[in-house]
């Protein structure tokens, strides 16, 4: 009997059509827990660094985590791993929704998809019956539309479906995998599905998922439930509304967008509009949102309502969440929120990342205005019209070209970094907001923040929103506020962090960039990463854990819940070690693919005031703290401490670690 996990993976070879249900080694759960942890291990073992993103050998692993399909609230993430066509590192975008629980109820922890199909197919998993089915009739269909079409043709209204749209079919580097109200968006998983010609994966499961000590698990969960209720009733004071609660940012609930619209950049991460949130704009935006959001919705087994079912002016329903509500309007400099609701509907059916894509379109507009792209690039053909000249029309036109890879869209579809280099002629200077070839949040700030410097530069996620969370985004202005904040902070891994916060001030010696000190920053960042790694192994939503201040899940209750669920009897030290092991294996995988210190930097203009010496010290200190060499590669000593001696052997064999020097 296996507990918390099902103990089986589904191995699907799209080239031969072979499907196998394979029992997994229980030892892997002890070493890596599950979810992202065990997926990294699969990639390490099977996908050599020579494999390129669109090679048949680039495996796509769709994984549940340890807590999906248990009564643990908010354990609903599905993590999809692959070598990204954009960053060439091991990407792991995650989605909420309902997929991973259903997969476990069908009896599988992961779906491992290998090679490519000749024709368009989709995978249908119904407990022990698994089929590769023809999908030629679904080609060109929207990512949401496809989910319902598949449920209808299977006559299974309760099947959960993850699907790609046109963008994935055409291998756009920002193509997402859409499912229910959520999506795996970052770093191009949709393109890998498209490359393999797998349009969708549908699953329906009606089996039991077991817990080792169910009653004890429920006892520990009681504390989590009470804390959820407490936090929902008691938002954190003195922080921005959006950071005060739990769950993902409650963008569908809150209509106050002063903070986003005036602090985030408009256009191609370019312009700050400090006066935007006027009475008139506030009234218009509020009215539009209230008329458009039809219902607040959640993911599987989660009491929050981070998502919204929306329909703009009687248009088709779709589901949205988070910052996607604003990204298109802001990138296009359109002062009307309705535009965002309209274009996001089309973008969701196309299946594209709503962080990266608007920036790509805004980048193209900037190049046109700078004369680097010309009317020739925006011209029509026999199949489509020329680009309209108004802001809204231009964005719709560019989006259509990108997802179809038509004309200039074919170049833009690879994202800003690649497009800038393909276009040349000075376009490279307009690529100012990418890290490791990946578009970042449109934020440009004043003074370097040492914590964010480390998170931006070093994390394997390459997306800040999935790295930060446990530590306030800025110092509290007054001593009283700081004292009030630390008073009730049971989530802290160690009491000494309280002093760091108490000493952290907005101005003076104890302010950024020199405080928190590099050593303190390393500890804080390490804590944030650790919790993200635990969440990603359990597939608990970061919104209820690592991504929010004072969350219901933390390092002190996780070991109890994991122990009761799995029977492993893991303590805090043991859990930290597993999280560390997973992170180091992931890092080594990316090092093996060529990632070095030279790649570890934030967007050049992210902060106006930079401090090269301090930045070097930050990186040196953090690397040392993590047990990595000065090139950002885990040392043999560190790897052996984490039972990853075989990784050190491999890195030495490849010359990435120098024998005897590390």
């Amino acid at each position: 009997m296996r507990y918390a996990e099902t103990g089986y993976n589904l191995e699907v070879d799209l080239a031969t059509g072979n499907i196998e249900r394979v029992e997994t080694d229980p030892k892997l759960m002890e070493l890596h827990l599950g979810g992202l942890g065990t997926s990294i291990k699969l990639h390490w073992d099977r996908v050599s660094p020579e494999v390129k993103p669109f090679d048949p050998e680039n495996m796509l692993v769709i994984s549940s985590g340890l807590f999906n399909a248990t009564p643990a609230f908010s354990a609903n993430r599905t993590v999809i791993t692959f070598v990204s066509p954009q960053s060439h590192t091991l990407a792991y975008p995650m989605m909420g929704g309902f997929f991973s629980a259903e997969l476990k109820y069908a009896g599988y922890d992961k779906i491992i998809i290998k090679n490519k199909s000749n024709d368009w197919v989709y995978l249908w998993i119904h407990n022990d019956k698994v089929e590769i089915r023809d999908a030629t009739h679904l080609k060109g269909r929207g990512a949401l539309e496809t989910q319902d079409l598949i449920r209808e043709e299977l006559r299974e209204p309760r099947a959960q479906v993850a699907a790609i749209g046109l963008a994935g079919e055409n291998r756009c580097f920002t193509a997402s995998i859409e499912q229910s109200r959520s999506s795996c968006s970052r770093l191009g998983g949709g393109a890998i599905m498209g490359d393999k010609k797998i349009k969708a994966v549908a699953v329906r499961g009606t089996k039991d998922v077991y817990l080792a000590r169910g009653a004890e698990f429920m006892e520990h969960l009681k504390g989590v439930t009470e804390y959820i209720n407490f936090r929902n009733a008691n938002p954190i004071p003195d922080v921005m509304t959006i950071l005060s609660g739990i769950g993902s940012p409650q963008e569908m609930v809150h209509t106050d967008e002063k903070w986003h619209t005036e602090n985030f950049m408009w256009g191609n991460a370019r312009t700050r509009r400090r006066e935007f949130w006027s009475k008139e704009n506030e009234a218009n935006w509020t009215k539009t949102q209230l008329a458009t959001v039809k219902r607040l919705i959640s993911c599987f087994n989660c009491p929050q309502h981070c998502g919204g079912l929306v329909s703009f002016q009687g248009g088709p329903y779709y589901m949205m969440k988070c910052f996607g509500k604003l990204t298109y309007s802001m990138a296009a400099y359109v002062d009307d929120l309705g535009f965002n609701f309209k274009i996001l509907q089309r973008a969701t059916e196309y299946g594209v990342d709503s962080f990266s894509t608007p920036q790509i379109l805004a980048f193209a507009v900037e190049l046109y205005e700078a004369g680097i792209l010309t009317d020739k690039d925006f011209a029509g053909t026999s199949t489509y019209e020329a680009c309209p000249s108004d802001k809204e029309g231009r964005f719709f036109w560019l989006l259509d070209r990108v997802v179809r890879r038509e004309g200039i869209g074919d170049i833009l579809a690879d994202g800003v970094w690649y497009a800038a280099r393909a276009i040349g002629n000075g376009a490279e200077a307009f690529d100012h907001n990418t890290i490791k070839r990946h578009e970042q949040l449109p934020l440009k700030l004043g003074t370097l923040d040492p914590l964010y410097y480390l998170m931006y530069s070093t994390n394997e996620k390459i997306s800040i929103t999935q790295i930060e969370g446990q530590w306030p985004q800025s110092a509290f202005p007054t001593k009283e506020q700081r004292e009030a904040f630390v008073k009730d902070w049971p989530q802290l891994p160690d009491e000494h962090f309280k002093q760091y916060l108490l000493d952290w001030e907005m101005r003076g010696d104890n302010a950024i960039p020199y405080f928190p000190t590099p050593q303190m920053c390393s500890e804080i960042v390490d804590w944030m990463e650790m919790l993200h790694n635990i969440d990603d192994a359990c597939c608990v939503c970061a919104g209820m854990s690592s991504f929010c201040l004072k969350p219901p899940y933390h390092i002190h209750n996780y070991p109890k819940l994991i122990s009761a669920a799995t029977g492993l009897d893991i303590d805090e030290t043991g859990l930290k070690k597993v999280a560390n092991r997973n992170r180091n294996l992931h890092r080594a995988y990316n090092n093996r693919r060529g990632m070095t210190r030279a790649d570890e930097k934030p967007p050049e203009d992210h902060w106006k005031r930079r401090f090269p010496d301090l930045e070097k010290e930050l990186l040196d200190t953090y690397y040392k703290f993590k047990g990595w060499n000065m090139d950002g590669v885990p040392t043999r000593e560190k790897l052996e401490e984490l039972d990853l001696g075989y990784v050190a052997d491999d890195l030495e064999k490849r010359g990435i670690l120098k024998h005897g020097q590390n």
């Binding site: 089996k207 039991d208 439930t225 009491p303 079912l309 779709y318």
Partner: protein, 179 residues
């Protein structure tokens, strides 16, 4: 016939508030697992959230009485422009659909309001519904004193309906021989 006082238990469903999370399904199946909480499986849940996301339909429905035969006709509701499934609001476990049946045996499921010893303050689905979609209410009514059919007899009757008396008798005989 004599009148007796009967406790009426109601779960009020405010479907407009439902965020579609299905925590009710998870906890129902976990509570009724044997041993309790040792497993969960929403397919065994006695509450199901009927969902059509793009039609804005999220409708929690509780398992009601077992019905051995289909209705002569089926109903279809349209409310506020939303068309619900055939028999969408019906709580019966019946031959026309696979709702409210044990996934392995096909035997009917019925909500028992989590009756247990000691009794719960309110059913588990109500407890985990943190959005107050489900509200538990109790009241007393005077009713005629009918003989209650015990649970085993209900189960037996449904097995006979499903498999026929002969097959059930054969199974019982074989089972007794093994014992």
């Amino acid at each position: 016939m004599a009148k007796i006082k009967k406790k009426i238990k109601t779960i009020k469903v405010d479907a407009d508030k439902c965020n579609g999370c299905r925590a009710c399904e998870v906890i129902c199946s976990a509570f009724h697992a044997n041993p309790q909480y040792s497993s969960n499986n929403p397919a065994r849940s006695r509450i199901q959230v009927i969902t059509h996301r793009l039609k804005n339909i999220w409708l929690p429905v509780f398992a009601g009485e077992y019905a051995p035969a289909e209705c002569m006709g089926r109903d279809k509701y349209i409310i506020d422009g939303k068309e619900y499934d055939e028999c969408g609001f019906c709580r019966a476990s019946c031959p026309s659909r696979d709702l409210f049946k044990e996934p392995d045996s096909g035997l009917p499921l019925k909500c028992d309001m989590c009756e247990s010893d000691p009794p719960l303050e309110k059913p588990m689905c109500v407890q985990v519904c943190l959005n107050s979609v489900l509200t538990y209410e109790e009241r007393e009514e005077e009713v005629e004193d009918n003989l209650e059919v015990d649970a085993a007899e209900v189960a037996l009757r449904s097995m006979v309906d499903k498999y026929g008396m002969e097959a059930v008798m054969d199974s019982v005989t074989r089972y007794l021989q093994k014992e």
